[in-house]
């Protein structure tokens, strides 16, 4: 139940950010610092989410089939594969590695 509450707060906050953009005075745009922080934070958060989903198991670090998924995704992205292909390749690589006995 409490997940629902945080989920709805997240939805409200997301809309608040979006709407704020339309009501903030235009001259604030002249401060490039805010958009730089928004941009670097986007990069940082996505990098962090990638790493957490690859090597974290709760509070410990693990090297398992997910590392293979990361490598496969990186190769596919370097070859300019579309998003959905990258995701399917990531899943397939992890599944195959697991079948071969690498957890």
């Amino acid at each position: 139940m409490s997940l629902w509450i945080w989920l709805l707060i997240a939805c409200a906050m997301a809309y608040a950010w979006k709407l704020m953009g339309y009501f903030v005075p235009a001259r604030l745009l002249k401060d490039p610092r805010m958009s730089r922080v928004a941009g670097t934070m986007t990069i940082g958060l996505l990098a962090s989410l990638t790493v957490v989903n690859t090597v974290a198991s709760g509070q410990s670090l693990a090297a398992d089939a997910r590392l293979g998924a990361l490598a496969a995704a990186a190769i596919a992205l370097a070859l300019r594969a579309p998003f959905l292909v990258v995701v399917v390749l990531g899943a397939g690589t992890a599944a195959v590695l697991r079948m071969l006995g690498w957890n």
Partner: protein
């Protein structure tokens, strides 16, 4: 139809299909992360911002708390506020349109709009991409969620590997140049270092603080990291498109400056 002859509408619709399709992966990953069907749909209908939605379920599936998931999603949503300022200066929506425009203000609708030069085309591009993605993203989220809940053990299908690939694919288009790569590496290292010492979900927030500090004190491009997940103009302008987005955003600022 006259609308379909508009280049911005055509770009907007093709980006809608490309983005909508990967809603399948969001839907499937969300239900295997432990969210139910309606929680998954609530994220796509109400939150509606790919990166933030993936962040929310990514924290939950890693065992993080609801508040950590909410925080990660909210921090990732900050850039939509920046897009809102740009679009407000470009399109000047009024009345109720402002509130609708806000909901469909995301990476792709912003990029489709700012990639055009004619004001009428900018407006058509924004609405075509915004509404088109909203409809298809929600439709395909539902498809993915229904398919995902029938899969059984998600690990057997490598769905944890799918999540890894999805996050890397969201990050990838933003790694243009040396500085973004350095930021990504710094935040990855900070995350790994934090994992053993803080509760699940919190390492992501540690990385956000590191990234914000870098942004605050550095002097990189002001639109760094503000690239769409799927580039609407890729293939049309080749490498020039990368710079084009930046220039157009700068121009957007010029427009607003004239207003003030």
């Amino acid at each position: 139809m006259k609308l379909l002859s508009s280049p911005a509408v055509r770009v907007g619709l093709s980006i809608s299909v490309a983005t909508g399709l990967y809603g399948v992966s969001f839907g499937a990953l969300s239900v295997t992360s432990g969210l139910d069907f309606w929680q998954t749909m609530a994220l796509s209908l109400l939150l509606f911002s790919g990166g933030s939605q993936f962040a929310f379920i990514g924290v939950v599936s890693g065992g993080g708390s609801g508040i950590a998931a909410m925080s990660a999603a909210t921090l990732l949503g900050m850039r939509n506020g920046i897009y809102g300022m740009q679009l407000n200066a470009l399109l000047h929506p009024t009345g109720w349109r402002k509130y609708v425009a806000a909901q469909v203000t995301i990476d792709e609708s912003t990029a489709t709009s700012t990639g055009q030069t004619d004001p009428a085309e900018q407006r058509r591009g924004f609405w075509a991409a915004g509404i088109g993605i909203y409809v298809l993203w929600n439709l395909f989220t539902a498809v993915g969620a229904l398919a995902g809940s029938g899969l059984g053990d998600p690990k057997q299908w490598g769905l944890d590997g799918a999540a890894v690939a999805a996050f890397l694919a969201l990050l990838w288009p933003r790694l243009k140049g040396r500085e973004p790569i350095a930021i990504a590496v710094a935040c990855a290292v900070a995350t790994v270092a934090a994992v053993p010492f803080v509760p699940a979900g919190v390492p992501i927030l540690v990385a956000a603080v590191v990234a914000a500090a870098i942004g605050w004190y550095s002097h990189g491009r002001s639109d760094e990291g503000l690239e769409p997940d799927v580039e609407p103009y890729r293939g049309h302008h080749h490498r020039g498109a990368e710079h084009r987005g930046g220039e157009d955003r700068q121009r957007g600022k010029g427009v607003s400056g004239a207003d003030a």
